[in-house]
Amino acid sequence: MEDIIKIERVSFKYKGSGAKLLDDVSLNVKKGETILLTGESGSGKTTLIRLINGLIPHYYAGELEGKVTVDGRDIAKTELYELAGVVGTVFQNPRSQFFSVDTDGEIVFGAENIGLEPSEIIRRKNAVIKDMHIEKLMDRSLFELSGGEKQLIACASVSALLPGIILLDEPSSNLDLVAIEKLRKQIELWKSRGITIIISEHRLWYLRDLIDRVILMKRGALNYTWTGDEFFDKSDSEIRELRLRPLSVRNYFDEVIADKSSGLSADVHGIKERVVLRDFYFSYKKKPHLIFRRHFTEKDECLSLNISRLILPKGAVIGVIGKNGTGKSTFLRCVCGLENGCKGVIECDDIVYKGRERLDLSYMVMQDVNHQLFTDSVTEEVLLSMKVKDRAFCISLLDRLGILKCKDKHPMALSGGQKQRVAIASAIAANAKLMLFDEPTSGLDYLHMQRVGELLKKLADFGNTILVATHDPEFIDMCCDYVLCIDNGTVSYMKRVNE
């Protein structure tokens, strides 16, 4: 078989950055091969992907040595738009990769750009829709879709260009288990059509039996190479040694169905120190009202959240699971008091928190922490949360979280993990007892995921109650004491995570 991608002795460093992100990398990819790139954050996976789709050197400038040839074209001498029908890329963030506002427009976007005949565009669009079974997503606004649905549309848009090579850059980062299953189906379909596929990914379990070759990257070099079968036969300890996320995970979602009969688990009765949530009802459908907004009660129809009483163990890490769109994030938003329509009450340490008081008790670290950093230095950021400005406490807090060395930096200049720690520091500074995390591990490698896990455990040891919404079963195994499953806005079960 001929080599469709040839990377010959390539080194690269971004403009204005000191370190080389790729160091003397050579790689040949055969036509029709499916390759998995894995390795720590910053090991050069994304850079390698950008070399193949031409974003380096045409969009991200820097010093490039060596030669990249894709489908017989020298990338350095090929304009990006000439590559559009040759290499397709699905990016990590579903929110920022669509150009249109409607789904139909998005699928045909690429095909329109390369100037195909309208009749051919329509033909391709219909073929893609049929292949992917996404009829029900058509004629909708992209802003209404879930992350998983957006990612499917991104796949469809790439498919419609009929490229011979498809690159996926951490495509599952923001997806739930159902969406990941669909993504896998899509990759299977592409593979069966003989398309060459390169996937950069931290989450490995869903790629079993799809991969021909696995490449582990480390500090800008190709560290190891295995065949797919060799790699997926490795034992858990070998994988941990390589600092990778596990190859197989416990399926907490199958348990959802199995455990439904038992309802609330008996474990809860043993809990002495508790946080009690009462009367959490909420719906996104507004109730008709004249002047005063009416509040939701148990009797209302189509509630997105319907929890009359829930006992949470105090000082524990509780993993909140459930499919996307079943009320997980609604639950978190209502608990910390962001939804005004929800009049739930929280009892903690014999104090009852209502309405706005819930905002003082709780603190949510959002999935995109960029939204919650406001000031121009880390110290300021933490002090902002304190009612009484206590610099000494602030310094000790930063030290405890391991971010003391960047105390004078601008929060936006930090890495993703550091930003998250700054947000956590503000939560502690605000004296929040109930900390909520919305998918803190999306897009993290094993090492960083482990760090977040340890941090959450530490916070729990200090007596904070942690609710963490997650799609990563391996993360639940790592740090959660309990799992709370939300289904259709109600608590399906809560139980202890057995070691």
Binding site: A84, F91, S96, V101, C336
Partner: protein, 234 residues
Amino acid sequence: MRVRLDPRTKLYMIFVVSLLVMLSATTLFLWIVRIIITLIPISLLAAEKRYASAFLFSMAYVLALVMTFCLITDESSGFFKSFLTGYSGIVVQFMPALITAWYVVRTTKIGEFISAMQKMHVPDGITISLAVVMRFFPTIKEEYSFICDAMKMRGLVLGGGSIIRMVEYRMIPLLFSCVNIGDELSAAAITRGLGGKVKRTSAETLRFSVFDRILVVCFSALVFVFIYAKYFKV
């Protein structure tokens, strides 16, 4: 009934509505022409099933009209009266254009818009920049709501009492996330061939329907009547 208008008709509508509401109406007849032209976007909104916005806008408009005609006279003075004059002036003069633009943005797909601009031979650079602006409105709204949530959580909604802070805490995260999104967005768009030398095609076939023709004729007639009555009738 849903009316699908051609984007070119919509652009013409924005132009005509803005023109007529900005030229001052001096006689009753001119006022009537102006009210008729304001009724068109309102009924289009209603046809889109956006009854609430259509109703609210009509109420505000009617109120402003009533005030202009009944309450405010040439002898009006004092703070309250000038406030009312200001209010009704803004509503009567700017809101029709605003509501028309809002209707157009809400109901035009980006594909349609690009296709229409190409048919009018507008350069691609201008078309694509405008398309990105349309794409960014909902993004900004979405990002802004996240930031407001975060502020609410930290009790910063009032910025600790300082107006500068209030603006700063909203704008800085908003700018950062918009810049990031914009950067990723363009990377994703150019890997799919945006900005090439190839002539862009369009899967949207635009057709001037009967309704489009009727509206264009209506608008042109109204403009003609208005200008004739205002400047040429002795």
